[in-house]
Assembly symmetry: C2
Homo-oligomer: 333 residues x 2
C-alpha cells in the first residue's frame, strides 16, 4: 500500500465483505437490487453478486446498463431513472443479453420504452420532489403502457426525503407513509413488483419486494451518523505535500478527487480546513501536531457516489496489501 | 446541437474567442501562463496557444504535464504544485521534449526536483493557507536548491485568498500586499521570474512576470460576480426528463456532471431546487411555467474546474453547430 500513487481510492475488503454480508442477511437474493451508481464498476458488481447472492441490478444511467450487459451481468437490469434516449435503449434491448426494465412517469418516457421494447416500472412520487408521477396518476400511466403492449412489472418509488433522518423511529414512520402511497399505486398499476428504498431505510421495508441500495457497500461520512450496520470501506490514500510553520499542512486530494456536495472529507485525527482543486489544507487535531511532508494519510469522503465518479480505479486492499484493482468503468453517461 | 446526448458540456466558441482575446490584450505572450487544470484538454490548450499566443503552460498534476508533453506542447511547463513523485517527474525530464519546472517549498520537495533534474520555482506563502514556504524562508530554500545544483528560475505565490473579493479596489490593495511579500522573496531567491495571480486578479499584476490563469477561458457563475471582461463560455446541455403537476420539473444532470463545491448550477430562467446524483430538480421562474418533458436546456456550472473533470469531452459550438470535439484527456493524476 505504501507505493500507491496518490490520490488513490482504496476499498477495505474486510469492511466491504462485512457490509455485503450484513445486507444479505437482512435482504437476501432478489430482495435487494444493488444500485450500481454508487460504485460504477462491473468488477465490483460481480463481486457483490457472487458474495451477496444478488444478481438483479439497479442503474442510474444507460452507460451503467450497457456496461453490466457487456460484463455478462444483464440477468435483470433496472434503469431506475427516466430516459429519452430511445435509440440506445432499443440497441440494449436488441442485444438480447440483458433483461431491460426502465422507469417511466410520463407519456413521453413511456413512448421511449415502447419504441425500445423495454419492460417498465411506473415511477411514483412518494414524497421526494424529483421524478415520479403522483400516486393517483400511476394507474393511468400503466394503462397507457399496456395499450402500447408494454410489460408493466410494477411500481418503484424512492423515499429520498426520508433516508437521511437520523431518528430511526421517525424514519420508519416516514417510510411507512411513503410505502402506503406506493402500495396504493401498485394496486392501480398491477404487475406485482414494489421497488423502493435505499441504504438509510434498508431494514424498514418489510413489505417491499426489492430495496435499491448502493451506498451500504462503501459508505461515507454522511450515512455514518445513522448508526447503520455498515462500516466505511472506502478511503482516499493521500500524502502530505506541504507543512507550514504557521500551523497547517496540505494533502494532495481536493475538489477533483472528492464529491463535495455533502461537505469536506474527514482526515482523522486532523481537522480539515478547506479543499481546493488538488489540495486539502488541514489543521492539527487534539495533540496539536502536524505530520511531516511525505506522511501517508487516509481521507474519508463525505459522499461516496460523486467521489468514485472522479476515479479510474478502486484499489482493493486486504489489510495492507492491494489484492485487486477494479476499474471504475461505468463513468460518464 | 439538438442531437447532442445529455448531459454534455458545450463550449461556445465565440465566447471562448472573446475571452482568449481579452486576456491576450492585457497579458500577451508569456505574460500569461494559462492554467491547464481549468480545462484538462490538450486540444483546448493548443487552441489557446494558437489564438492567444501563450505557449508556456501551468499544470496542477503530473498527468497534465505528461499529456501536454505528449501533445507537443512542452515548450515550458510549470507544475505549480508540490510533488513527491520523483520517478514520474524524472521520466518526464528524461524524455527531453519538455522544459520541466516544478514548485518547491520544502527540503523534501526540493529533493524530489533534484532527483528528477527538474528546474524549480520557490513556492511562497503570500497569504493563502495552502502550499508555499513563509516569505522569510524562501532564500534558504533557494540556497538548498542551488547546493543541489538545481536551476532556480524564481518564485511563485498564489493570492487565492484575494481573487474572489468582489470589491475591485480592495482586491487590488490585497494583491499588492501579497505581491510585496513575493517581490521580497524574489530578492532573496534570485532567478528573475515572479509567477502569480489568477483569473480574478489578471489585470492587477503590473509587475508580475507571468499570471497563472485558467478559469477566464470558460468562466463560471462564481467568477461572474467580479465583473471581469470574460463571458460564460461553458454550459451543460441537459434535457427535461420529468415534470410534476405538483410544480417542479427535473433535468438529467446532477452531482456527477457538476462540481458542487461552489453550489448549484444556474438553469435560467428557472430556479434550481436541488441536485441529486443524476438529477436536478427545478422550480418555475418569473412566469410560473415549467417546460415539457423533452425540452433542451442549458445549465451553467458554479465551478468550472471540478465540472470539466467529470466529463470525457468538450463539444465546441459555433452558434448552434458543433464544429469540434475536444477530449478532456488530462483527467486523473
Amino acid at each position: 500500500m505504501n507505493d500507491l500513487p496518490t490520490p488513490s481510492l482504496v476499498v477495505d475488503l474486510a469492511t466491504l465483505d462485512a457490509n455485503v454480508d450484513a445486507m444479505a442477511a437482512e435482504r437476501p437474493g432478489d430482495r435487494l437490487r444493488p444500485h450500481v451508481k454508487a460504485f460504477k464498476s462491473t468488477a465490483m458488481a460481480r463481486y457483490v453478486a457472487q458474495r451477496g447472492g444478488h444478481d438483479a441490478f439497479c442503474c442510474a444511467t444507460l452507460r451503467e446498463m450497457e456496461g453490466l450487459a457487456d460484463a455478462g451481468l444483464g440477468h435483470d437490469l433496472l434503469l431506475a431513472n427516466e430516459t429519452l434516449d430511445a435509440e440506445r435503449l432499443a440497441a440494449l434491448v436488441r442485444r438480447g443479453d440483458a433483461r431491460v426494465t426502465v422507469a417511466v412517469d410520463s407519456p413521453q418516457t413511456l413512448e421511449v420504452a415502447a419504441a425500445a421494447g423495454a419492460e417498465v416500472l411506473v415511477d411514483v412520487d412518494v414524497g421526494l420532489p424529483r421524478c415520479g408521477c403522483p400516486p393517483e396518476d400511476a394507474g393511468r400511466i400503466a394503462e397507457l403502457a399496456r395499450a402500447r403492449r408494454l410489460t408493466v412489472r410494477g411500481v418503484m418509488g424512492y423515499e429520498g426525503h426520508v433516508v437521511g433522518n437520523p431518528d430511526r423511529a421517525a424514519r420508519a414512520a416516514a417510510v411507512e407513509e411513503s410505502m402506503a402511497l406506493l402500495r396504493g399505486a401498485l394496486d392501480d398499476v398491477g404487475g406485482g413488483i414494489m421497488s423502493a428504498g435505499g441504504t438509510g431505510t434498508f431494514d424498514l421495508h418489510p413489505r417491499t419486494d426489492e430495496v435499491q441500495a448502493g451506498s451500504y457497500l462503501l459508505m461515507d461520512t454522511a450515512y455514518e451518523r445513522l448508526g447503520l450496520p455498515f462500516g466505511p470501506a472506502l478511503s482516499l490514500a493521500v500524502r502530505v505535500i506541504s507543512r507550514s510553520p504557521r500551523g497547517w499542512a496540505v494533502v494532495d486530494c481536493g475538489l477533483k478527487s472528492l464529491g463535495m456536495d455533502h461537505g469536506e472529507p474527514a482526515l482523522a485525527p486532523y481537522n480539515v480546513f478547506f479543499c481546493s482543486d488538488e489540495h486539502t489544507t488541514f489543521l492539527p487535531g487534539g495533540d496539536g501536531t502536524l505530520p511531516p511532508v511525505g506522511t501517508r494519510l487516509r481521507a474519508v469522503p463525505a459522499h461516496v457516489d460523486p467521489t468514485v465518479a472522479y476515479h479510474e480505479v478502486l484499489h482493493v486492499a486486504d489489510g495492507d496489501e492491494v489484492v485487486e484493482v477494479w476499474p471504475v468503468n461505468l463513468r460518464g453517461w
